[in-house]
Amino acid sequence: MAIRCLIVDDNPRFAQTAREVLQEDGIDVLALAGGGEEAVRFARELRPDLALVDIDLGRESGLDVAFRLRAEDPEALVGAVILVSTHAEEEFAELIAASPAVGFLAKAELSADAIETLLGRPAQGQAE
């Protein structure tokens, strides 16, 4: 059962690459959202298991978007949120800890294995 995922990133180049990489690893990338509004709309429509949210969305903060997507737990729009960034985890450690996200992934480390580990699912052993 593939993870159904929404990518929220204001950088189309990275979002596209991430989609290709994750699709290949067997993750079902449902949509790419460029900002918070779009993310909420897609999430409402598609109810993904996971949203990968860039912390730095240009004008808005990915942390705020994370709160909106996971606002009230039982009715949450997405199953889980993982924050991603080109920044290092330690730069945002405090904000990540205070957010409703299950964890953080550096963009360079993005892979299905890393996502599954964060979600607490057994790795499916794709590639490697």
């Binding site: 990275f14 690459t17 290709e20 942390l63 904000l95 360079a108």
Partner: protein
């Protein structure tokens, strides 16, 4: 006092003629009114009455009346009472010109006395006015020399003007390039810097603008009440105002307006205002250029910060994203390679690692240019993150978790960053603490360490940069660093009004 001064200038002819005629009439009246001769008691009573008339004339109208009245009284008594020694023979015409001559001499002497007295009084007034003005100017100059902020200087100038002319209120009004005016300072409690809007006709400042000179407005009945409220005060029932132009570097900078809330300002207000404002122009020009300098300093700092932020954003959105995407793509290729291509795989893996190292380097550079967490989370999380990244244990005590104006956050962050770097690098400290609190419109940041001490903000280039940054925002920096006892760096930054640079007072 001014009225007196003008009266002696218009002096001799009219006043002296009136004195002469009145005294002549007084002589005739006295002559006619006396039916008795030589009776001692009546003579004494009459002398007392004459003395009173002379006293009242001198007191009410000046010596020009007093002296001839005295002569009249003397002549009348001499001629009519002190008979048989002498008597006014009305049949002998010579007596008339002699009497007239006496009175004329009296008027002349009186006039001389009067002029001298008025001159002395006028110069005494002028001297005390000058002394008051000089004392007022000295107070303003002292304030400027002490480096008081322009807002305070303007308030002081307004206060001195009000006291000097005895008005209820005074304000310093600045003309803006767009044809509006703003309040630079005033004596009322709520006279902070603020825009006053268009200079509507009928206002004292509008008249100054039109005529270029000191003007008086005693009738505000034609001015809408909300304008009177805005320009003079809500408590003005029947205001009167005098406004003087403030000329700085040859052009009209603004006006000083003294006003009375109810009733007319004294007659000489215009003159005193005009004189005093001329002297004040230098103080106002000084305060105004200091305000402009402070504003431009603040703008430079803010522009610098914005440029850094933009640079960081460009790095983040451009190079960093590209590098990360590239690394992901290469990894994808790496995984697609068939198992027998192990050599190529190893080489590709190495390339990806190199690429990630490059990404990390770029990230470090970007972080040094502008810390992303400051934009994302604000000062409190940024300071805690800073503490975590430090090579020594740092206690962070942050009280305000709310977001502050960006220039203030950035300044406070750089102060803390520089202080912690110094503590670790130069002072060899083993511990440090950062405290942040908000107090009375000020953000207070202090950084302490247990290092070597001996830091000098006048030589250390890092500290100098920080001082410049803090002072540009209207803040202050204090460094206590006795040798061997660690360093305490304390910074106070204004948050409430001056957060976006001291534009308000400029």
């Amino acid at each position: 006092m001014g009225a007196r001064v003008r009266r002696w200038k218009a002096y001799p002819v009219a006043t002296a003629a009136v004195a002469f005629v009145t005294s002549g009439a007084a002589f005739a009246a006295m002559a006619v009114a006396v039916p008795l001769r030589g009776e001692t008691v009546l003579v004494v009573l009459w002398c007392v009455l004459c003395a009173c008339a002379v006293g009242v004339a001198a007191w009410r109208f000046g010596s020009v009346f007093g002296v001839p009245f005295a002569i009249v009284a003397a002549l009348a008594i001499d001629s009519f009472y002190i008979a048989p020694y002498r008597s006014f023979d009305s049949q002998n015409w010579v007596n008339y010109p002699v009497t007239a001559m006496y009175i004329a001499i009296g008027v002349f002497v009186g006039a001389i006395l009067d002029v001298t007295r008025l001159r002395a009084a006028a110069s005494e007034t002028a001297r005390s006015e000058l002394a008051e003005e000089q004392a007022a100017l000295r107070r303003v100059a002292t304030l400027i020399a002490e480096g008081a902020p322009p807002v305070e200087v303007f308030a002081a100038v307004a206060r001195e003007t009000r006291n000097l002319v005895g008005a209820d209120r005074a304000r310093i009004i600045r003309l803006e390039p767009d044809g509006t005016a703003s309040l630079a300072g005033g004596t009322a409690d709520d006279d902070g810097p603020r825009p006053l809007g268009l200079i509507e006709p009928g206002l004292a400042t509008a008249e100054v603008l039109r005529t270029g000179r000191t003007v008086r407005i005693d009738d505000y009945s034609g001015v809408p009440p909300e304008l009177v409220t805005r320009w003079i005060g809500a408590d003005a029932s029947s205001p009167s105002a005098v406004a003087s132009p403030v000329i700085v570097a040859g052009s009209l900078w603004g006006t000083v307006v003294a006003s009375s809330l109810d009733g007319r300002l004294p007659d000489d207000t215009e003159r005193r205002m005009a004189e005093f404002t001329e002297l004040l122009a230098i103080a106002i020009a000084n305060a105004s250029s200091r305000a402009e300098l402070a504003a431009s300093r603040a703008r430079l700092v803010v522009a610098g910060d914005q440029a850094r932020r933009r640079f960081e954003r460009n790095l983040h959105d451009g190079v960093q994203q590209r590098l990360v995407s590239l690394a992901l793509r290469l990894r994808r290729i790496e995984r697609r390679l068939p198992g027998e291509q192990s050599e190529l795989r190893a080489s590709l893996s190495e390339t990806v690692q190199e690429l990630n190292a490059a990404t990390d380097e770029v990230r470090e550079i970007a972080q040094g240019i502008h810390p992303a967490i400051l934009t994302q989370g604000g000062l409190a999380p940024a300071l805690r993150t800073l503490a975590l990244r430090s090579s020594m244990p740092v206690d962070v005590l942050v009280e305000p978790e709310e977001r502050l104006p960006e220039p203030v956050e950035v300044a406070a962050y750089y102060v803390a960053a520089e202080a912690l770097t110094n503590a670790a690098k130069h002072a060899g400290a083993s511990r440090a603490s950062v405290t942040l609190e908000r107090q009375d419109g000020l953000l207070r940041l202090s950084v302490r360490d247990d290092g070597l001490g001996g830091a000098d903000p006048s030589t250390g280039s890092g500290l100098t940069g920080i001082r410049d940054r803090v002072e540009a925002l209207g803040g202050s920096l204090a460094v206590t660093s006795p040798r061997g006892e660690g360093t305490v760096l304390e910074v106070a930054l204004p948050v409430a009004a001056g957060a976006d640079g001291p534009k308000a007072s400029g």
